[in-house]
């Protein structure tokens, strides 16, 4: 799989390089505008209209967010292709493009896309922490006073899956079968892939399917489809959204598949976990784009902690460095504990850190992580409950063994 992805990246890179060079060398002024626009959507149109250029840029940015969030990949492609064609058509003959530097080969396009997407994701996360934005988000949350109401569909699925692992199957079932989850999956399937069938979970949607499987709600056909989807997937487990694999969702799916007898899925996921999604500078990626196997952004601390702890619990860690993730995230987890559980991300990180305490013999971390009260965010509460479940010696002969 590694070799296959490498080949794909090489082919994609070469083709885009060739096309770019041809456009620049043989396309003249028009070709240069097109390449400009491919690199920075809207740039190729700035000579025609600044407003149009800005509008295209904003639309492209928004569409990239939608692509990363929901796997709606055709929209940014359409915007980039459409605006690039338009920029070529509208380019004035004989007029030198303003930015000569753009004529450089677009061999850097893909890393640039990665950088741009990573930057957008980072900006989005950072913006949520800005005072004004935080106030707006808080107001939105206050309109839904019950924490569960404020939970998005994906987080709802994750919560259900974790609760099921913690043994609270009843509550997990209620959450996992929430019609809002299926409605979202249907919407994403329709917009991203024009899927209209009766089953919204026919492909992808790792978190909801993992939750349903762990809660024991999937019927025979659904289980078969789940297995089949996993066996065909590059990562060994279904994606979260079309072409996007996210660490926690994928790990939960691997756990669910293992529990329904598909242990090979767990092994395949383990390989991806410590190769393609391996720790780099103490971080794992927030997402993995399966067509070319590209890592995007860094996973939030809580997701890194939760996914790695679950992987550790199932023996999917690196054989020589079983606690490498713990060493990488330990200090940041203590920082989350110090900040307290007021912020959702911190509360989840604290609870996810407690998962790791079942494996890490770390008295100081145990003391510090046990101080904050986890009680607001449902996913954090579920993770905390799972941590208590792992720590309770009465529940398992091997307290670290989550496999039923």
């Amino acid at each position: 799989m590694h070799a296959r992805l490498g080949l794909r990246r090489a082919v994609a890179g070469s083709v885009s390089l060739v096309i770019s060079v041809c456009l620049v060398v043989f396309g003249g002024h028009v070709g240069a505008h097109v390449v400009q626009n491919v690199l920075v959507p809207g740039l190729g149109l700035h000579e025609q209209s600044w407003w149009l250029a800005v509008a295209v840029f904003v639309a492209a940015t928004a569409s990239i967010v939608a692509w990363v969030q929901w796997g709606v990949d055709w929209v940014p492609v359409a915007i980039v292709v459409g605006s690039s064609v338009a920029s070529g058509v509208l380019a004035e003959a004989g007029h030198e493009p303003a930015a000569r530097w753009v004529a450089s080969p677009a061999a850097h396009e893909f890393p640039l896309v990665v950088v741009v997407v990573t930057g957008i994701v980072w900006l989005r996360n950072a913006a949520r922490r800005l005072p004004l934005v935080r106030t707006v988000l808080e107001r939105r949350r206050r309109r839904h006073p019950e924490p569960l109401d404020a939970l998005g569909a994906v987080d709802r699925s994750r919560t259900a899956a974790v609760l099921a692992l913690a043994g609270d199957v009843e509550r997990a079932t209620v959450l996992a079968t929430d019609p809002r989850i299926a409605a979202r999956a249907r919407r994403v399937g329709l917009i991203a892939r024009a899927r209209r069938g009766p089953d919204p979970f026919v492909r992808d949607h790792a978190a909801p399917r993992a939750a349903l499987a762990l809660a024991g709600v999937l019927d025979g056909d659904a289980i078969d489809r789940f297995r089949e989807d996993a066996s065909r997937a590059v990562a060994g487990v279904p994606a979260s959204e079309p072409t996007w694999v996210r660490p926690l969702d994928a790990t939960l799916a691997a756990v669910a598949l293992t529990r329904i007898g598909e242990t090979a899925a767990g092994d395949r996921w383990a390989t991806v976990w410590h190769t393609n999604l391996a720790l780099r500078n103490g971080h794992r990626p927030a997402g993995w784009w399966t067509p070319l196997g590209i890592r995007i952004a860094t996973a939030p601390l809580w997701e890194h902690a939760a996914a790695s702890a679950l992987a550790r619990a199932h023996g999917w860690h690196h054989p020589e460095r079983p606690d490498a993730d713990w060493q990488a995230i330990r200090r940041r987890l203590l920082g989350a504990a110090a900040r307290g559980s007021a912020a959702v991300d911190d509360e989840r990180a604290i609870a996810a850190g407690r998962l790791w305490l079942a494996f890490a013999d770390d008295e100081q971390a145990a003391r510090i992580l046990s101080r904050p009260t986890v009680q607001h965010d449902p996913l954090a509460v579920a993770l905390d409950r799972l941590a208590a479940h792992l720590a309770d010696p009465r529940d398992h002969t091997d307290r670290k063994d989550l496999v039923a």
């Binding site: 330990r330 200090r331 203590l334 110090a338 900040r339 559980s341």
Partner: protein
């Protein structure tokens, strides 16, 4: 006896007189001031040169160097002069408030640069380029007047105080101090409510700090650290005076209170202060300066250990301060004390700062207390290592001729001023022990001097006591954060003053009446009395300061309880408000249901009984008999549906 008073006997201490020919300024402060004077002289010289030989712009610059904002007046922008003066005041407040040492120089320089830039520029009401040359001598006059006024203030205050020295020494030679109040007042309903509030606060979830006032953490009266300090001191007093023979629950509560001091919200202000004042990004709250946290916490731990004997905080790493990025600064009682000692040693002034660059007498007294109390509990000599130099600093740098001490001193330029934090900017004594433990002779002198003012007032109040009450409707006072008033604050002063003069009748009356007049009927997280959390803490301290006050507790150290002990019970179901052994053989116990009107069936487990001896437990409608086991333990079951006052005593042979 369950609590022994081990005050240094202040009455027997030789009177410490005031210096007959006091110095105006101490040697270190003189050196620092000299440095300031030299710096200012150079600054004025440069300014004068610029005025003398420079262009219009440089003259404007130089004029501002002579007096902040004068350059703007020179270039006919009087509005900007006013703005500069306001900015200087704000800069001064920021200098004091957050150790922004660069603030005044920055404003001064900015006013000079701004004036220079405007020299050839437009004017508001006069022609472009107009300059008012008459401002230059005015600037010099202003500078001289300001400096002269400061010098005059210092000199006149010095002379006024020095003139009093012979009279004060005469008084000190013959002053008799009232005996401290050492009798124990049995806890009443309000004490039970306050204890309940303390337990509710302590046993909320580990990360909970509900019940405190919240606001900015630098100066505004809402600092979490001081609220935590006062509550923990108060609870330590209650433990030592009223619960020495039922230590289990109160000990856990006090340990939790100490741990809550390590909550990031309590100490994270230090990072900003250290960065602004020392240009040091290290968030460690103990290592350097910040005596207002480290010493106070050290003293708090001293009190907790003296009251309960707990050794939890003697273990390495028992005090973990975790910063928001996960860095952990681990201390324990010993390393914390050592850090305080080390900071004293490093300081050239002899006192070390709270906010960087500012050394306060009260906080350095707490620093001394932190060392002394640690020595008492652990048998070390950290206070002795610094005492001589510390005392020298107190007596030569901070002492004013009339026996009061300046509240604040700049470590950089040796200046003090009245910051408005305490009346007049000075006091005879401060800290929670008022020198009683660290320097008994100084304590005696300070107490005698305070009595001169307090005794007549307390005497007048004492005459108003009728039927054990002080029926006064005192006007509410503004809380320190100035956002609301409190009816309780004036009562705190009366009770404290009554204790100072040793008027037990007035103390009891004020305690009773304050509870009646200021009660709110509320429970945690609201407050049972009309006060802020720090006001509540202060009230509990003065209420519970007998037979042991905080100084007495620190000097006594921990004493194992004598006589029968209530080892365990259903602490969550019943509130034990009193457990004392008046004679070493019996146990007086007071308890009530934890939840109102909820009768609970509980077991009382006793220990430290005489093996094989028959005991009775009787009082308030209860009568039980039992024989102590071979291990000196016994258990009694009873129903608690109201307040019970019981006495456990050896059965009298028929």
């Amino acid at each position: 006896m369950t609590a022994t008073i081990d005050h240094h006997d202040l009455a027997a201490t030789e009177p410490l007189l005031l210096p007959e020919r006091p110095a105006r300024i101490g040697p270190t402060s003189r050196r620092l001031l000299a440095r300031l004077v030299v710096g200012l002289a150079v600054w004025f010289a440069v300014g004068s040169v610029l005025i003398a030989v420079g262009s219009t712009a440089w003259r404007a610059f130089g004029t501002s160097m002579i007096f902040p904002g004068a350059g703007f007046l020179y270039v006919a922008w009087p509005v900007l002069t006013l703005v500069t003066l306001v900015a200087v005041v704000i800069a001064l407040v920021l200098w004091w408030g957050v150790s922004a040492h660069f603030a005044i120089p920055l404003v001064w320089l900015a006013s000079a640069a701004g004036a220079a830039l405007l020299a050839d520029g437009p004017r508001l009401v006069v022609d472009r380029g107009t300059t008012w040359g008459w401002v230059v001598p005015l600037a010099y006059a202003g500078a001289v007047a300001t400096l002269g006024w400061m010098v005059w203030r210092i000199e006149s205050a010095y002379r006024r105080k020095a003139a009093k020295v012979p009279e004060l020494n005469e008084y000190l030679r013959s002053a008799t101090l009232p005996a401290p109040i050492t009798s124990r007042r049995a806890p009443d309903e309000m004490d039970a409510e306050l204890l309940r509030w303390c337990y509710d606060f302590a046993f909320q979830p580990e990360d909970g700090l509900d019940g405190l006032d919240w606001g900015e953490q630098f100066h505004g009266g809402t600092q979490l650290r001081y609220q935590m300090n006062s509550l923990t001191w108060a609870m330590s007093l209650y433990a030592a005076n009223h619960l020495p023979n039922a230590p289990g629950h109160i000990t856990r509560a006090l340990e939790t209170m100490v741990r809550k001091h390590t909550d990031l919200r309590v100490w994270k202000y230090w990072h900003a202060l250290n960065l602004i004042g020392n240009f040091d990004p290290n968030p460690d709250p103990i290592r350097r300066d910040n005596i207002m946290f480290s010493a106070f916490l050290g003293d708090v731990i001293n009190c907790v250990e003296a009251a309960t004997g707990t050794e939890v905080f003697d273990q390495p790493g028992s005090l973990e301060f975790v910063w928001s990025d996960g860095r952990t600064f681990s201390y324990d009682h010993h390393t914390l004390t050592e850090a305080v000692r080390r900071n004293f040693e490093r300081s050239s002034l002899g006192f070390f700062p709270c906010e960087p660059g500012w050394s306060f007498t009260v906080c350095n007294v707490m620093g001394a207390q932190a060392l002394y109390g640690h020595d008492v509990v652990h048998g070390t000599d950290t206070w002795e290592q610094v005492r001589e130099r510390w005392q020298h600093t107190l007596d030569h740098e901070y002492l004013t001729p009339d026996g009061s001490y300046a509240h604040i001193r700049s470590n950089h330029i040796g200046v003090s001023w009245d910051t408005g934090e305490v009346p007049g900017g000075h006091y005879f004594a401060n800290g929670t022990h008022r020198f009683a433990d660290i320097l008994p002779a100084h304590a005696r002198r300070a107490k005698a001097l305070e009595l001169r003012g307090a005794a007549p007032k307390m005497g007048a109040l004492s005459s108003m006591v009728h039927d054990g009450r002080l029926d006064l409707d005192l006007p509410p006072e503004l809380e320190r954060h100035r956002t609301r008033t409190s009816k309780l604050l004036p009562w705190v002063k009366i009770i404290g003053g009554a204790r100072l003069v040793g008027d037990e009748r007035l103390v009891d009356a004020a305690i009773r009446s304050s509870a009646e007049k200021c009660a709110t009927g509320e429970r945690w997280p609201n407050r049972p009395l009309d006060a802020s959390a720090s006001g509540l803490g202060s009230y509990m301290i003065v209420r519970w300061s007998a037979p042991l006050d905080l100084a007495g507790l620190a000097m006594r150290g921990f004493v194992d309880p004598v006589g029968p002990v209530l080892a365990d019970t259903a602490w969550d179901d019943v509130l034990v408000t009193e457990a004392v052994s008046p004679d070493g053989d019996s146990l007086r116990l007071a308890l009530q249901p934890r939840i109102d009107d909820a009768a609970v069936r509980i077991t009382l487990w006793f220990g430290q009984l005489r093996p094989g001896v028959a005991y009775t437990l009787a009082g308030t409608g209860e009568a039980h008999s039992f024989v102590a086991g071979d291990d000196g333990a016994a258990a009694v079951e009873l129903t608690v549906d109201r307040t019970l006052v019981l006495v456990l005593a050896e059965a009298v042979a028929p």
